[in-house]
């Protein structure tokens, strides 16, 4: 033999020797897992995990992958690519013996194995891996894991993992035969904020026939208290997520209504095509997304940076064209404006249907907008909604700045307050009208771009928001940015809270009824313009 051929053989022999030294597993346990009865199997899995041997993980993975076979009911082999290795001793077995049978991994064993694999990661040096392992265990840890959990708990330094781990431990200890252990566990569970804990504690309090699942009355009372503590903590989370969805809906309504606050609120134009301008913005985002995917796939995650201005200008251009061609001839005739702009909305909707088809189109979130922030274990705030709340605020600030601090804004306000006088001092009123209408339409486009990130984009997108956004403006009062903001947030919140209480449709009806009644009392909206303007 030449040294070239000897070297690999020698290496293999050394490897096997090392493996044998390091990874000898108790043969009877291995056999019990691979070929025992269901209860034996699960018990043996627990014992193997508790042994803390490094070879356990390899063996379990092989079981899960379906690579374990049993020879004659005695010897357990890990067979892969026609190569056999004894699972207990890690010796190579060649040739493979006859009469091999696949080890049966039923669902119960599979669950136990997966939990065990998780538990083994509890001692991983990587913090993220440990955290993931604890989270996996939260959903189902068996009593056989207790020693391992105890070991991990003793070694754990991270406070968050430690807290979670001790809860898992308490959950397991609840099933213990020793009342003192159970009592301690019930007490420990009180500090949990996991919804699984609720199920655990309810299980303790459950009544089976005449007897309770928990025989000890003192423990039951303690469990009752713990349950209350957990529930109140959970309901805090529920309330937080409710408030957040309310704010989120409110910010969307605000985006949809802000443009209307200019065109209707300041200029007095009833624009029934406002919803369709939102839709134009959403479709612009779709087109930009497709362009990026086709031409600049590397920059795809940043397509929104181009989509936002595109949506603004696309809608603004459409809006300015409308103002020039139709709406300016109808100033001072609001009912006619309503009908004409409705006609425009029909045409825009049908155009989009002809160009892009009647089906909804897909607009993908960039990677940095997917996922969410976990505030509490039962509250996850999605990034896309958070970003839209921020975006709505930014648009609001931008609009306030434009109207209150720029020359255009000054002109818009001047024309609104006294058209004749503004014209006399040299304000080009017609151009200001066009620009203001364009601004309002552009903001509708921004709303559309934002909506494309959280919902369906289709030809009917605008119709869904038109009634809502008019309600916001009507409720908020004409000519008032602040009114629009408060009305949008108020409606968003009210909608979500009522929804939780009475279902989506009834909530919507209740809100509409409320607005109708509210307008009876305050026809000018929440923030009425006082003085001469109010009567015109």
């Amino acid at each position: 033999m030449s040294p070239k051929t000897i070297a690999p053989v020698l290496a293999l022999a050394l490897l096997l020797l090392w493996a044998r030294l390091a990874c000898a597993l108790p043969a009877e346990l291995v056999l019990a897992v691979a070929a025992g009865q269901s209860d034996e199997q699960v018990a043996a899995v627990g014992k193997l995990v508790a042994s803390g041997d490094a070879g356990v993980e390899v063996f379990f993975q092989a079981l899960l992958d379906g690579n374990v076979q049993v020879a004659g009911g005695k010897r357990v082999l890990v067979v892969k690519d026609e190569q056999g290795v004894d699972a207990a001793t890690n010796e190579k077995v060649a040739p493979l013996p006859d009469g091999l049978e696949d080890a049966v991994v039923n669902n119960r064993l599979r669950g136990a194995l997966e939990a065990a694999m998780g538990a083994l990661k509890l001692t991983s040096p990587d913090r993220a891996a440990r955290l993931a392992a604890v989270k996996a265990l939260e959903d189902g840890a068996g009593e056989e894991m207790l020693p391992l959990i105890g070991k991990a708990l003793a070694a754990e330094a991270d406070p968050q993992i430690k807290r979670l781990l001790s809860l898992v431990q308490a959950g397991v200890q609840l099933k213990s035969a020793d009342p003192a252990v159970r009592m301690a566990a019930v007490k420990a569970l009180a500090s949990s904020d996991n919804s699984n804990t609720k199920t655990l504690l309810l299980g303790v309090l459950e009544k089976k026939g005449d007897s309770f699942a928990e025989p000890d009355a003192a423990i039951r009372a303690e469990a009752q208290d713990s349950l209350k503590a957990v529930q109140s903590r959970l309901s805090v989370g529920e309330r937080i997520s409710q408030v957040f969805t309310g704010i989120s809906l409110g910010s969307i309504l605000m985006l949809a209504a802000l443009g209307l606050a200019i065109t209707y609120g300041l200029m007095g134009v009833i624009n029934m095509a406002h919803g369709e301008l939102i839709m134009v913005g959403a479709y612009s985002a779709y087109v930009v997304q497709n362009l990026f995917r086709a031409r600049l796939p590397g920059l795809f995650d940043w397509y929104l940076a181009a989509a936002v201005p595109t949506a603004f200008f696309a809608s603004a251009l459409v809006g300015m064209a409308l103002e020039r061609s139709v709406i300016r001839f109808l100033y001072g005739r609001p009912l006619e404006t309503l009908l004409a702009t409705w006609g425009i909305s029909l045409i825009l909707m049908q155009s989009v249907r002809s160009i892009f088809g009647a089906q909804n189109v897909q607009v993908e979130n960039p990677v940095w907008m997917s996922g969410g922030v976990e505030v509490l274990t039962n509250v996850v705030l999605p990034w896309n909604r958070l970003i839209i709340v921020g975006f709505a605020l930014a648009v609001l600030l931008l609009m306030w700045f434009l109207l209150a601090r720029t020359r255009l804004g000054l002109f818009v306000r001047a024309v609104t307050q006294n058209r004749g006088m503004a014209s006399c001092v040299g304000v080009p009123t017609a151009r200001v009208d066009t620009l203001a209408f364009g601004l309002g339409s552009g903001i509708a486009g921004l709303a559309g771009c934002a909506l494309s990130q959280i919902g369906n984009v289709g030809p009917d997108l605008g119709q869904t928001y038109i009634v809502d956004s008019f309600m916001v403006v009507v409720l908020g009062g004409v000519g008032q940015l602040a009114g629009t903001v408060y009305a949008a947030l108020g409606l968003g919140m009210a909608n979500k809270f009522l929804e939780a209480w009475s279902g989506a449709v009834l909530a919507k009806i209740a809100i509409l009824a409320f607005i109708i009644i509210f307008i009876q009392k305050r026809p000018q909206g929440m923030f009425a313009v006082k003085g001469r303007m109010a009567d015109s």
Binding site: L335, L339, G343, I347, V467, V474, I509, I515, Q520, P523
Partner: protein, 366 residues
Amino acid sequence: MGPFATGITRLYGRKGWIALAVCAAILFVLFPLANLVAPKGSPLYISDYTVALIGKIMCYAIVAVAMDLIWGYTGILSLGHGLFFALGGYMMGMHLMRMIGRQGQYQSDLPDFMVFLNWKAYPWYWSFTEHFWYSALLVVLVPGALAFVFGFFAFRSRIKGVYFSIITQALTFAFMLLFFRNDTGFGGNNGFTDFKRILGYPIATSETRMALFTLTAAMLIVTLLFARYIVTSKLGRVLTAIRDAESRVMFSGYNPVHYKLFIWTVSAVICGIAGALYVPQVGIINPSEMSPANSIEIAIWVALGGRGSLVGAIIGAGLVNGAKSVLTVAFPEYWLFFLGLIFILVTLFLPRGVIGLLKFPRRRRA
């Protein structure tokens, strides 16, 4: 014929009555003969489809007259007339559902959708609907009562103009959502359909259809004359005055609220009756009839025909719906473009509508 002429001549002049008589003759004599007596295939024969289509359009024409009363004459743009129309239709539909008896899919005493929801009995608001007279009463009362209550609050707090339009739209939208729910007890999405008989007669035969057709024609003529009676009366003059200068009417010692409330309620009731005639002819009523789009479309019928002209409203309803039935078949994609253009062009270039073109071809717009 001055504004204070009395009696029959107050409504229409000699030519007007002759024209009306000709129309009535066509509807009451020619149509039944051509549909029922003329043999199929002969050039005189009018198909059941045409009869159903014209019957449907006449229902819309009744709605257009009601809309003209409130918008054309009183200046209040309602975006809720589709709601009153659908409510009338639903009230009639409830009776027709009852008349299906055990002939539904599940052969139950209850309508199919209730069986599907696992309901054991009719909800309270369905009681007595098996009597035709009671349902007919509901057709008038339900839209009327809703309009009265809504109008009372709206007009009392002096909501007008676009505000009124928008909250009537919100009202319609709310009702549409309500009727889309299965639990509301009106068949949810699918509404009412598969009617079998009306007043003991099978509903799908040519004879029943023709009876419904002539009934609708009669109702259209009665509505036209009644509306004409209102607008030529002193009441009608006050309504027009409210449209043109509401404050002045108030300062002259009239309370506009009473007048507006009256005409608003009357208009809603007329719509309800039209809906009740519509449902047995088309054989279905569902919540999409309540969609805000339908209500706005009613306004464009009137605007196209000519606001402030009752005959114009009828012509407008006929033109738009006639065009719709032709174009949605011939060019389904272009119908909405066409409808949208009607909205824009009529408001920009035809403030007096088609009737304005016929009556005052050269007059500049007011």
